[in-house]
Symmetry: C2
Subunit: 170 residues, 2 copies
Amino acid sequence: MAEMQGRGPAGGDMLLYLTDEQLRRGAEAMFFAYRGFTADPDRILANKNYGRAHHRALHFINAAPGTTVNNLLSILGVTKQSLNRVLRTLIEDGLVESRVGRVDKRERHLFLTEDGAALERELSEAQRARMRAAYKQAGPEAVLGFRRVLEAMMDPDMRRQYRDLQEGRG
Amino acid sequence: MAEMQGRGPAGGDMLLYLTDEQLRRGAEAMFFAYRGFTADPDRILANKNYGRAHHRALHFINAAPGTTVNNLLSILGVTKQSLNRVLRTLIEDGLVESRVGRVDKRERHLFLTEDGAALERELSEAQRARMRAAYKQAGPEAVLGFRRVLEAMMDPDMRRQYRDLQEGRG
DNA sequence: CATATTAAGTCAGCCTTGTTGACATTCCAA
DNA sequence: TTGGAATGTCAACAAGGCTGACTTAATATG
């Protein structure tokens, strides 16, 4: 095989990090970390009649203002019925605005209102605070590796979505 | 402030990796990667009348054979009613065995049967295959960083659980 | 122009998995 | 012996997924 990517910094055996036990360990880390990752926004939302699905919608509308419903669907990976339920409440509550497309009038372009942007900020700031602390504690090299592994773990379609989002921010 | 942990390897500004944009980016990476992380087992389970909750129970019973219901509850972070529903079907279907404690007969100790262990293997092997590919692609340094950041992202209680699980494997 | 396709929205119904609250049983320990 | 802990169970509910069927409007295509 000769996968010579190198040896662990601790000087262990080659490819020790690819043993089943290490992989199980990584899976557990993902599980526990994702819980932490969502904990703070979830706590905020619990008092507001919204859930994690609303957070996700707010996040991606904020990241790509003017996105269409279809595009949001493919980013979130849910059915339109599921998204619609969430989107409807956000629009009714004045957090999201839906504008008919100028060039293609079938499309609806989604934007956050001021209130929507405010809630998005509150949620993502809570989430960022935790990530900031984790990044700080782990250091820049670790953050690079973190992102590299996560990216490699995505489905190809999602990786494309993920990278496209970055483009929009130049 | 003077957080002198260093500069990005690309030679960019100090603490560039702690900007709000970088943190948002990390959050999106977590979102998309977690989808990939659960995709394969979910696909397998869809054909079997089980869900992600069953996978989690099987995983942690396998990781800590003989664990009590209460211990499993605190690892999974759900209510006993929620866990019980899942556990009941697994026991009925002969995938999990529940033995009355010898020293404390109130406690139930949980074990996988052969069938349970087989399903657990199938699920976790699918999950590990993806992680193995991601680890290989990212390299050992990245994996170290990945785990470091994830660990820093956990709630302290979860971090304790996570580390305790490691102890049990020496 | 006629027709097919697409985007969006809606209704109804279902499933999984989470939640509370109430309550029974069993058993350990003070 | 009594209080509390661990477990299990019942009922009811909510969020957020899903499928399927259908409408409306607008665009694309023959």
